[in-house]
């Protein structure tokens, strides 16, 4: 006699990690979940920062201060800068893409310190909410994202203190992330994977993380001293108590100039991943790209005083920082020429990811040219703190980093969701973003050269027409978000099924399923010794017997 007992399913291992959509709201330690948390959280703050920018451009439609009170205008511009830098670009180009991609690229199943990683992310929402809520509770900080004393000591203290707390939390998050990236890239590489075989984004993140770890603590220390000046009436930066305000500027820019590279180096890395795949060519000049990143890191640490050419810096200091700053153009130029060479002779798919990447190159080249000009003391003395500078740095951080964020979303969306985004909507999104962006910021160069200072709620009426052009551009940029949002949301359920590797890419994140399983690979991680091994080898095409035009005609 046999007794049949109902088949008992083996007890599922009780996971401490929630599954399903809830894990995106949890203290998950999965690097992919954390990456998406960074991304979505960052994008929410991008919308807030964008609304603040819209308020600024609305105020500037007319030359008089008529849209909002003047002190609110200063709160809005402070929040706009802080949100866009610390809650959108830095967390997204580092935290979102770094967390998602770096473990794949080094052949690891997660980051080196998964719990630290989750802590780093979960510092961001409270810090962001704190910052935004300060506007409603006590009034936000009014002294700009630079918070120069004595202005930051004399504006209402509560808003300024909340701003400092928020930035300290965000800086802490950034440092935790930086340590994690350095450890992951250097120590968690799959056996057999050499440093010079890593995808370029790893090098960019290594360089960025070095900058984060070296410079962010300086900002933290400075802001703590500033908060002592505010609440305990110490005199570090208070000239009335014997303090020195220029020292604050030195300390602040010691972080905040490298912060520019913290925002653009990862973007450089992402573009280096996207272009070779869609051009079907190897990344041109891998070794020089690596050295350029490291040169930018080194030079980026010794250029900060170019933000202070009008602050009474001595002539030798002006000279040194001019030369150091201008020389950053050399390694940066190498990277841009290498991307152009990667495009040259490729089989370029003109999809949204490539269009946004090329838009980035165009915008960043213009921002770089104005940057070299701004490094020249005599030039800077006229346009410092004007709309010329506003135009310049938006060409760097929006035309540069944000364009790359969009390119990367189009490129990696199929990896994350398993579905493709709509290409027509994507190209439309690119078109209005590119036109709107350039319409918004190109005229501002002229405004600055002709006498409009930055951070003003009212201005000389002769600048009204150009400001209105600029505001129309800003409106276009706002509108361009709509097709993008629709595309992201609709494609998640209706997009064409992408398959595991829709771009025929060779980098390791594509050598698994889309979306990837929890520990990235079923079985062992693949060893990718040459992540850019695209292209037909030269010996298969006899170069001597054909001219260049034959090469591309034959390909048809």
């Amino acid at each position: 006699m046999t007794l049949t007992v109902p088949q008992q399913s083996p007890p599922t291992p009780q996971s401490l990690q929630p599954t399903g959509w809830l894990r995106y709201l949890s203290f998950s330690v999965d690097h992919k979940v954390i990456g998406l948390q960074y991304m979505v959280c960052g994008f929410a703050f991008y919308l807030i920062g964008g609304a603040l920018a819209g308020a600024i451009r609305t105020e500037l439609v007319s030359p008089i201060s008529d849209f909002m009170p003047r002190d609110v205008y200063n709160q809005v511009l402070t929040l706009h800068g802080t949100v866009m830098i610390f809650l959108w670009i830095v967390p997204v180009v580092n935290g979102a893409f770094g967390n998602y991609l770096i473990p794949f690229y080094v052949g690891a199943r997660d980051m080196a310190f998964p719990r630290l990683n989750a802590v780093a992310f979960w510092l961001i929402p409270p810090a962001g909410l704190l910052l935004i809520s300060s506007y409603f509770i006590t009034g936000a900080a009014q002294s700009g994202w630079t918070a120069y004393p004595p202005l930051s000591l004399t504006t209402p203290a509560s808003g300024q203190i909340i701003w400092i707390l928020s930035v300290l939390l965000l800086g802490g998050s950034s440092i935790f992330g930086g340590i994690n990236f350095i450890a992951t890239i250097l120590k968690l590489r799959r056996p057999g994977l050499k440093l010079m075989q890593l995808p370029m984004y790893c090098w960019a993140m290594l360089g960025t993380s070095i900058l984060v770890v070296l410079s962010t603590p300086v900002l933290a220390g400075t802001l703590i001293m500033l908060s002592f000046d505010i609440v305990a009436h110490t005199g570090f930066f208070n000239p009335g108590l014997g303090g020195n305000v220029v020292v604050y500027q030195h300390l602040f820019w010691f972080y905040s100039h490298p912060a520019v590279y913290i925002m653009v180096l990862p973007a450089f890395g992402l573009v280096s991943e996207i272009l070779p795949i869609h051009c079907r060519k190897p990344l041109f000049g891998y070794t020089t790209m690596v050295y350029s990143i490291m040169a930018i890191v080194g030079l980026g640490l010794v250029v900060w005083a170019h933000h202070m050419f009008t602050s009474g810096t001595p002539p030798w200091m002006r000279l040194f920082f001019t030369i150091a700053t201008a020389f950053i153009a050399v390694p940066t130029g190498i990277k841009f020429f290498n991307w152009l060479a990667t495009l040259w002779g490729g089989k370029i798919s003109l999809n949204s990811a490539v269009l946004f990447s090329c838009g980035f190159i165009v915008n960043f080249v213009l921002g770089g040219i104005t940057g070299v000009a701004l490094a020249q003391v005599p030039f800077d003395v006229h346009v410092h703190d004007t709309y010329f500078v506003v135009a310049h740095f938006h060409y760097i951080v929006y035309g540069g980093s944000v364009f790359v964020i969009f390119a990367s979303i189009y490129h990696w969306y199929p990896k994350v969701t398993g579905r493709l985004m709509n290409e027509h909507l994507g190209r439309f999104h690119f078109l209005i973003t590119f036109v709107g962006f350039n319409l918004c910021f190109a005229p501002q160069h002229w405004l600055g050269l002709n006498g409009m200072p930055r951070r003003v709620a009212e201005y000389d009426p002769q600048f009204q027409l150009i400001n209105q052009f600029s505001s129309v551009g800003a409106l276009l940029m706002a509108i361009s978000t709509l097709p993008f949002l629709w595309n992201v949301i609709a494609s998640a359920s209706q997009g064409a099924i992408a398959g595991d590797n829709p771009w025929n890419a060779l980098t390791p994140e594509w050598l698994t399923t889309s979306p990837p399983p929890v520990e990235n690979w079923k079985g062992e991680a693949p060893l990718v010794a040459n992540p850019y091994a695209y292209g037909t080898p030269e010996d298969e095409i006899d170069l001597r017997s054909v001219s260049g035009s034959d090469l591309w005609r034959n390909g048809q």
């Binding site: 201060s65 009170p69 003047r70 205008y73 002294s143 120069y148 004595p150 202005l151 004399t154 009335g240 020195n244 305000v245 220029v246 079907r280 060519k281 190897p282 041109f284 000049g285 891998y286 020089t288 009008t310 009474g312 002539p315 002006r318 001019t322 130029g333 190498i334 020429f337 290498n338 152009l340 060479a341 040259w344 002779g345 490729g346 089989k347 370029i348 090329c358 190159i361 165009v362 040219i369 104005t370 000009a373 003391v377 005599p378 030039f379 003395v381 006229h382 410092h384 703190d385 002229w446 050269l449 002709n450 006498g451 200072p453 930055r454 951070r455 003003v456 292209g535 037909t536 390909g555």
Partner: protein, 274 residues
């Protein structure tokens, strides 16, 4: 007939350089120049604008050309050429920007020197007696370039500038005149001794191409020589509070006669003042 690509490239490159030079020299983006260092500044600007235009148009042209010519056509499969790098090419585009940057740096150094930027900070020649107790910071100025005999024969006009939320006040020690507008004489050097009462402000006259932060606790000297009579805006360029955008004044550059008339009309009688 096939034109060799080297020649096409050469011709395009020459057109690009000439076009960039033409744009840089002929498109004016700057307001009128009204001080001795403004024309020097404009010279630098034209050089930077030319180089920038050449670089920008060249790179944009290359991208558009690549995107059109090397685009993937429908039905096209396969990869591009497996070119992983080219050392001579890399050396070339490292060296060329380095040379350009070096040239720009040396040129702007020269400009800077001609503007008087390398003058020592202590400005001993102005005989300011307070140097001993306070360190005085100097902005870029034009004291060095007013070397024409007529200009250097004139004693610099000293003016004390007080920046506060949200106004500039100008005090002429010579005659004890207090004014909300800065009156200066065309062709005569001016030395501003600037002090801020509360927060950082910046003194900017776009037509003079001059800007200097006015920093509390750090008296600052700024020298310049106005040239072109007229009324020009003085703008505060450093965020200084809610009314920062309204913190403006006017500099009036006048002929010597007009300036002296203004000086006499506003000069305070030494005794009567309470």
């Amino acid at each position: 007939m096939q034109i060799p690509s080297a020649i096409v490239t050469l011709v395009l490159g020459m057109l690009l350089v000439l076009g960039g030079l033409w744009i840089g020299q002929n498109i004016n983006l700057l307001p009128v120049d009204a001080s001795t260092n403004a024309p020097i500044y404009d010279e630098l600007f034209r050089v930077l604008f030319s180089i920038g235009t050449i670089l920008f148009l060249g790179i944009v042209g290359l991208i558009i050309f690549s995107l059109v010519r090397f685009r993937r056509r429908p039905g096209q499969l396969g990869d591009g050429l497996a070119l992983e790098g080219n050392l001579p090419l890399e050396v070339f585009w490292t060296a060329v920007p380095a040379i350009v940057v070096l040239f720009v740096g040396l040129f702007s150094y020269d400009i800077y020197e001609r503007m008087g930027g390398m003058a020592p900070l202590s400005h001993g020649d102005h005989g300011t007696s307070m140097q001993t107790e306070q360190r005085i910071w100097g902005g870029i100025g034009s004291s060095e370039i007013s070397t024409t005999p007529a200009a250097s024969a004139l004693q610099p006009l000293p003016v004390e500038v007080t920046a506060m939320q949200f106004a500039f006040l100008f005090h002429y020690p010579d005659g004890d005149i207090m004014s909300g507008e800065l009156h200066v004489q065309a062709g005569r050097p001016v030395t501003l001794r600037m002090e801020a009462k509360d927060v950082i402000h910046a003194f900017w006259v776009p037509e003079f191409r001059l800007k200097q932060d006015v920093i509390p606790g750090q008296p600052t000297l700024l020298d310049f020589t106005p040239t072109r009579p007229g009324r020009y805006p003085i703008v505060c360029a450093e965020l200084c509070g809610p009314y920062h955008g309204g913190m403006r004044s006017t500099v009036v550059v006048e002929s010597p006669d007009d300036f002296n008339t203004w000086l006499q009309a506003n000069r305070k009688p030494p005794v009567q003042e309470a």
